[in-house]
Symmetry: C2
Subunit: 596 residues, 2 copies
């Protein structure tokens, strides 16, 4: 007998608890209170309930039936991880939870949700769905999963440290003053901060509550006078930090957050409806505060890196480039012999990185996909699933690291031995798209949605595409994914601004066969001015410094301008990385960066 037939399933435990509370269902999102990409083990309620370990999903558990939703990236993974007898498996976008609730919630039923784990807009969508079904959506006081989850891990309490001015480039007092001015200009008395990276940026602190991202989890309120009330577990705060924070930051326990919001009654308070929990909205509403919808005021200044942060990113990318080049040189020898496991390859790469100055860990779990595994966009090798890298295959390697002075994220697709003409042709189409974005020059005011098609057009012309964004924002020793900047099909009104960093990562994926992706990080820089205008023209500076595999480049398909770009990029990689690697690696690098 297997375990699932003998033990009581989490779904059964949850249903009993719902019945005890007079609820007919419960919505279980993947997020925690901060709506971030990573959640600590204590908040992995969706994984506890369904077994699903991906980064996007939601479950709705009713008494008689249940459904699990994820997006295209994780459909295959959900099939192996989630019990299809217990959960109907559905597509988060094509068959979203609201529609399923409307169709399946019994009339008169009470559907529960945890107001800490949904944004106000998310609650509205669920509420309308429940009401269309003739039911009601009911907030819970205390998550019912926590009541029945035996051995639930404790919330993390990793120490918080100061992020030095050398790398931050701006004193925290100056940041607070600038945010306070923004609030005052918008006739606001305060803003609630619930995004951990915003708080880390604002206070120039870093922590360790989450994997891959140096963030402490906490909440804060900043007033139009620049004062910050920081609601954070005191156990995380070491002896020297108080001095770093200064007098204008008051440290209060997390339990003080509610009373802190109550004190904002009658005030005009900005809340970011994209990231704040509905709980904040409800509490402020009850306090009589005038809630003003608007983006987290730290988001945009955090996204526009200052010169010290850009210099830090450049240094981190040189060290990271040397590490990846070291690995690729090793792989050029080891790969064609066959039998190298995906996990062993990822570990080897990490060992090269770990030697670098300021290394603080990986910025996300390495995606090392051999052959057909490369076609799984968010693939993560496990001991059970991993393949070995064999001659004749493509090997897709997407990885990155956190350094105290910057965050990296790079994808290279490598030919192991000789590969087919189709692979080379499509790699070249992806490369043309990558170059088109990297070379783009554009006026102030241009958004990432406007530029996205430049990277897709070479593939589109041959009826091909990739089902992910072209670029995501990247933080400065913060999240490897950050907003509001991105290069994406999704309509956006956010202009690309000088200092923003995004990835440039078009790809192509042939299910069951191979995957291709070429990713560099690029920074928005001013580059001249418009004719008869003082409005700056913008262009990208490429930060990543690692050769692109010339064995995969069909040079006859490249234009002269594209060949010039590739040769200039490789010349720069060679000149910046050669001094950082040993003689054998330098020799490999010289060949890998030869002009074509």
């Amino acid at each position: 007998m297997t375990k699932s037939e003998t033990s009581v399933s989490p779904l059964t435990l949850l249903r009993a608890e719902l019945t005890r509370r007079g609820l007919d269902g419960f919505v279980v999102p993947r997020s925690d209170e901060h709506q971030g990409e990573y959640v600590p083990p204590s908040a992995q309620r969706l994984a506890w309930l369904t077994g699903f370990t991906g980064s996007a999903g939601m479950a709705v558990a009713l008494i008689e039936r249940a459904a699990f939703f994820t997006d295209g990236r994780y459909t295959l993974q959900a099939k192996t991880e989630v019990d299809a007898r217990a959960f109907e498996l559905l597509h988060l976008v094509d068959a979203p939870p609201a529609g399923w609730i409307e169709a399946n919630l019994p009339s008169g039923a009470r559907l529960g949700y945890d107001p800490w784990l949904h944004t106000p807009d998310g609650v509205t969508a669920l509420k309308e769905a429940a009401e269309r079904a003739g039911g009601t959506l009911v907030p819970v006081d205390g998550n019912p999963i926590d009541a029945v989850w035996r051995d639930r891990p404790e919330p993390p309490t990793e120490p918080i440290v100061a992020h030095p001015l050398e790398f931050a480039g701006q004193d925290a007092r100056d940041k607070r003053r600038a945010i306070a001015e923004t609030l005052a200009k918008n006739h606001l008395d305060a803003a609630v901060l619930t995004a951990p990276d915003s708080i880390a940026w604002l206070l120039n602190v870093r922590g360790g509550d989450l994997p891959y991202t140096p963030l402490p989890l906490s909440f804060a309120v900043i007033g139009a006078d620049g004062h910050v009330a920081w609601f954070v577990d005191r156990r995380k705060i070491g002896p020297g930090l108080g001095e770093h924070l200064g007098n204008d930051v008051t440290v209060e326990p997390p339990s003080g957050f509610g009373p802190g919001l109550d004190a904002l009654g009658e005030k005009r308070v900005r809340v970011d409806f994209g990231t704040a929990p509905a709980w904040v909205y409800d509490r402020l509403t009850a306090s009589g505060a005038k809630i003003v919808r608007g983006s987290d005021p730290c988001q945009l200044p955090k996204a526009c890196k200052n010169e010290a942060e850009l210099d830090g990113m450049r240094g981190a990318h040189r060290r990271d480039g040397a590490a990846v080049v070291g690995f690729l040189s090793w792989l050029a020898e080891r790969g064609p012999k066959g039998g190298l496991g995906e996990i062993a390859a990822a570990d080897k790469l990490e060992s090269f990185r770990a030697k670098g100055e300021h290394f603080r860990g990986l910025s996300f779990p390495t995606i090392a996909g051999a052959g057909p595994h490369g076609a799984i966009v968010h693939y993560r090798a496990s001991r059970q699933s991993e393949r070995t890298i064999e001659p004749g295959q493509l090997f897709l390697l997407d990885s990155g690291a956190q350094y105290a002075d910057g965050t990296t994220d790079i994808t290279r697709t490598i030919a192991i031995g000789a590969v087919g003409a189709e692979e080379r042709h499509r790699f070249t189409l992806v490369l043309k798209g990558h170059i088109a974005l990297a070379r783009a020059r554009f006026p102030t005011g241009t958004t990432g949605s406007q530029l996205d098609a430049l990277a897709r057009q070479p593939l589109w012309a041959e009826g091909l595409d990739y089902d992910h964004g072209t670029g995501h924002g990247v933080g400065s020793f913060l999240g490897v994914h950050e907003g509001p900047q991105r290069i994406s099909k999704v309509a956006s009104a956010q202009a690309l601004l000088p200092g923003m960093i995004v990835s440039d990562e078009p790809g192509y994926y042939k299910t069951g066969a191979y995957g291709i992706r070429i990713e560099n990080l690029i920074a928005v820089r001013t580059d001249g001015a418009a004719e008869n205008s003082d409005k700056p023209w913008l262009a990208f500076e490429t930060l990543t410094l690692v050769p692109i595999d010339l064995a995969l480049v069909e040079s006859a398909s490249l234009s002269a301008a594209e060949i010039d770009w590739l040769n200039a990029y490789h010349a720069r990689v060679r000149s910046e990385i050669t001094p950082l690697v040993d003689a054998a690696t330098a020799q490999w690098l010289e060949d890998a960066t030869r002009p074509i």
Copy 2:
């Protein structure tokens, strides 16, 4: 003494009327009750008040001061037309009315607005501005301008005629049934229709209440049962039309519109907040209707032309092409002699078009700009301002016509004699952008905002741009501008769908020197499928059939693919237009379409 010093100005008349009504100010938009591009003379209140004749503007008249707002296209025109001593002249986007009201409306003041002439969202913006100033925004009952506007023209009552099935391609009953299904699927009981082109499309009728656009002005309500209540002046309805409309369309007088809305109490009613007057919103709210915000349900099916409409467009473009080719052949002889006036040129072009079958008039006032006038994007020649076309200049000609089977809009830029290298180079950049969009292939779901940059990139790369959209939607014997489709920087979630028609019109403008624009209409068509998918791939079919001036093409700057496109386009123009023109014109055409 000039006239303005002896007679009482409209602004003075309005202020007296405002005072009589206890108002401290009044907002005067350019729009009528239908928010369309053209307004009948009876609704040209902004022109009466300020003298401004452009298509985008607003005035705010307070007792002590007044302001006039227009956008970048009309800034120069406003300076000549509007009295700067009476009105502060401001930029509609950079210094919008709301900000001016906030800064200038006295505390406690009552600012009036006509709820027929603003959308609900427009009213919200004005209301917030008035309240931030400490005043209130007050709806008027009857427009105060109408009370003091002596000799105000009567509203138009041009006859309404049936639009034959041969050109409409779908019976009006089938259209009503499809819209009714859309409403039912969205749990709606009815939709209010206030856009004249939606009503004309739905009922397969055309009229003549507006210049350049074959529209009757009216209102309608369509129910989820497919029944239409049409609120329209009976004097416009000829004897045969009742039969064409059938039993499911009830004709009611315009005065019945209010009671018609009252009858929707308790119903779920869709209102398009982008085009409906606030008056409709207010009346429905008072009636107890549940207002559901959503797009006009006719908008999308109207935008996706059926095969009969596309065939009509193709036929109209052949006749229009023959007319423009006839004109260009004539201009090739006449132009280099010098002294040809802009108005004479436009009239000559119209005379060629008027000979075409199904010709019903121009689709907008011809823009015929010689030399520096070409740089004025929405230039309209007047007897006072016109220039003559001289050798060495560029001549920009943007024009179009209404035919019973289709609507055209074309811009050509023509070298008169020999022109400079800069003009040729920049014309070639614009051509590269035009070709990039025309050649684009893209997956289902792609929006016009995603494609816009393809047309700009060649200019952007040299620090140049144009300050208008790349393409607007075009109707089928309806408005030459229609939504929701467009090719624009402005973020949009509207995918391009098969049958949609847009213009492809990148440009470049050097103030005081010359203007360049190349415009064809293009239709979205399916073009194969994605790899391993049944989702159609899309591409554009070019409808416009007129040569692009080869004297302006710097062929060394074109790629092989661009030259192939241009030669194939010209071969098609030659083969389709030659049979429709006389021998001399055919000879000119042969040379104008020679391969390069």
